[in-house]
Subunit: 127 residues, 10 copies
């Protein structure tokens, strides 16, 4: 079952801006309607808050374990996307954050879901 | 015969914005002039209304069954495109919605039809 | 001889906007100077008028037959492009319309001709 | 010797705008320094003046013969580019015109020369 | 251990602007959590200060030795990226500077980190 | 030794604007630190001054000989780039000029250096 | 329902050998287990018997109509492949014949079925 | 747990030879050493026995369910490959059979395992 | 220091033949002449001995740790390749084994080294 | 006019076999029927005779000048190909020699001509 307590953070050392992207090519969960497995790719992109505001980054191994906790969960694509956004926003309180999930498809239909939090810079919109 | 009653929805949990794309690579209907089969790809892209406005998403398996209901229908490309847009707008009342259909062609002519509802964000126009 | 009477239309059901592209990869006419065949690709892109203004779409099979009526006509590239634009504007009175013809070339010279009617949206110009 | 008298024109039938591109992949002239042959590609792109201003188009076969008249001329890349622009502007008095020449190179140096006349639309600059 | 004293500079001769990119495809460090090696590519892009402000460039071989000093260091991706930015900003005091690190991934997750200093020109953002 | 006296010019015939690109794929110099050869590609792009201001173009064969004069010179990438810019600006006094050098790399580090003179048009920046 | 009586033939004029390939990219039938549509590509490759043995070729439009007769048939991939092979062997009695069907897949599994009749030449095996 | 009883067969109608390939792009199991998920692609290729010898084919949906039964099994790549080969050989007694598994990799190491049963035709070996 | 004691094996269950490939894209060692890092890709391909002869497979995580033990070793490309072959042959006594190492190169020279043990099947030679 | 006296040779130092290819991408001659220019690529491939038989190689700059001597010659593709073969066989008396000419085409027809002298090795035939 998706378990946000698996997520760990580490503080950022200073206020200089930077943007982080993590792309998980090995995500799988279950379709809540049929029980069959879904396979997707999860792109997480965010700018963490500055150190002076208590800025935090998600630790990579904990992100992997958190992702694996969806493995046997029956859950819609949209709910996966929203939950990852919400859990990470709650965890890190970033300046802004995007989650883009791309699914291999079932019954001939491929899907992409994009969820945002905060003001996404112009050059990252729709990408 | 195209049957919008096959479509099912599920409510969205909150108001955070997200954009959904479903691409059906296996659409087929019949040419109303000749009875020969047409083959196309249907891209549906939309931003659902926020939860506080009763926002809804179309369920994926129901979208597949709805798409299959065009299989033996004699219908123009433009009418396919418009009907899918109209049925889904009536169903979900989204913030905005695009339907882009791409057809393999007959007699050497390939076609693309783009139908919109609401205000499409700049970075999705003509794409 | 190019014959616009071959073109047929069908009415559009409502006022919701959509953009249509037809690409004919199998166009041929004759060079008016030498009598040799020219081979080209014809891209037609338009937004039809809304139903409330009597909006019409060109029917695809009739477009194919119309295109074939140029087969034994001696006619310049520019004239082909203009005539198709003019015949289709007269037929459909669309909101806007583009005709882009791409020619395989003669004597080592390839050509592209772009003809417009009405105000082409920014994201379609030069494409 | 480059001979602009080879160029022929034909009048345009109306005022509707269109843009014409001719790409000659088989251009050759001689280096004025060494006498060795140069090989290049010539892109001519222009919007002719409207019919109401006496708009003209260059005829394609005459353009080919004109291009061939450079075959045994010792002439710099820049001069080829400028002369073609000037001859065609004098001939057609177009709304605007670009000549872009791309040269296969000598001694390991490839070259591209862009010459303009009139106001080039934004979406054609640097292309 | 990362050693900024390995970095050497040379003065720039004048004030004319230029932008420098160095891409190191052979970066490796260690994961601070597991001790396993990480492999990445480091893009450094900057505009040095003008000579009249004491502008400096980093010397390439010293940059390579500095990069190699991370080889046996246990350090997070984000910290690598920030430390390289901070060390080079302290060294060169450039007009602006970007460090973009791209990591091959662990546990199926690939990462990209972008850190900036100063005002990045529009045409380099998000690239 | 780099020898700008090898460069020759020829006058431009008129004031019509044009942009020239020369790409030398066969540039080599020596690393001033190690004495090992460096291999690079040199892109020179400029708009020459109009004829009415004494506009000049660099002659191609002289550019090749000038490029070859760096062959046994120990010189940094940045210095190559700046020297070519400065020598050509002094020679031609162009409206604007870019030199972009791309280096195959040493020790796993590839480099690109961009040097400008004058106001570069928007559509050539960062390209 | 698959209907081999739709197939028509024409006689071959002489005994010189030749090999024919027809690739139908628009084949669809139904899954006999679930009723859901299957989409595939059918490659037919054969060498017809010589004219002196009554050699025959399948007529192309009749092959298209025959293919369309599978549209609403519930039938396994293997049975589609075998039936096409058997119907065409019975119709044409070719020297040899291959049917290779490639299916877009269901539930993440793509399939290719190869059925042969007669002695397939070495250079067509497994292709 | 891998469950061969999920597999179903159907009889083949005749003795004409054919070769079947099923490629499952969505296979996942668990590493028996670490418990972390593995992701792979399974290619099954076989020639079934002729009908006169009781030839059988594996039914596609049952193959999918069987593949899914490895989802939460801790098992080596080699054991996955061998078990699939052994289960399918026991089920179908084919003329020959190949299983080729391709794994996305862990710790930077990608793997391919090829297991055979019977005499593989020359043109399928090592492919 | 390269440490073959890190390697672990597991027994194979039966005698059915199979071929295993492991590709490590993240190999690094040090140049014994200069001390600078080398980066390469290691392909290991082998057929293990049958179970009846005590056939063994190398365990993947142990192979990764063994590969990492070269990280700070000064060693030639050829010696890396030979040592990996010899250590794995001694460990597993396979039917045959190939090690192919591909190196990113230094000073502009890329290298590939192929080492064999036993009789390599025809279709794997030179690949 | 094609002038074989432009060709120069140099002797080979020993008897060890080697095969030489020269590819001229910038060949042009004239069509003898229309006077229009033809553009082609000339591949010359040969094994020179051993030194002990007076083996000779064609000098590269002389080959270029010889190629340029066809520039204003009216000559068929086939005659170009044959003459180059005959002139070079007479000049060098090689063990074997191929001339393969590839022409950009006129009126939509591209052409390739292959002319041989001596016994061409199996692996160069038809390439």
């Amino acid at each position: 079952m998706p378990d946000a307590t698996l997520l760990e953070v580490f503080p950022v050392p200073d206020d200089a801006p930077f943007v982080i992207e993590h792309t998980n090519e090995e995500f799988t969960s279950l379709c809540p309607m049929t029980g069959h497995p879904d396979f997707g790719e999860i792109l997480l992109r965010y700018q963490r808050a500055p150190a002076s505001s208590g800025g935090l980054c998600v630790e990579l191994k904990s992100l992997k374990l958190y992702s694996q906790s969806f493995r046997n969960e029956g859950i819609f694509y949209e709910a996966v996307t929203n939950q990852i956004r919400d859990d990470l926003v709650a965890l890190m309180k970033p300046a802004w954050l995007q989650v883009i999930t791309t699914w291999r498809g079932r019954g001939g239909i491929r899907s992409v879901i994009r969820a945002d939090a905060g003001e996404i810079p112009e050059h990252y919109r729709g990408r």
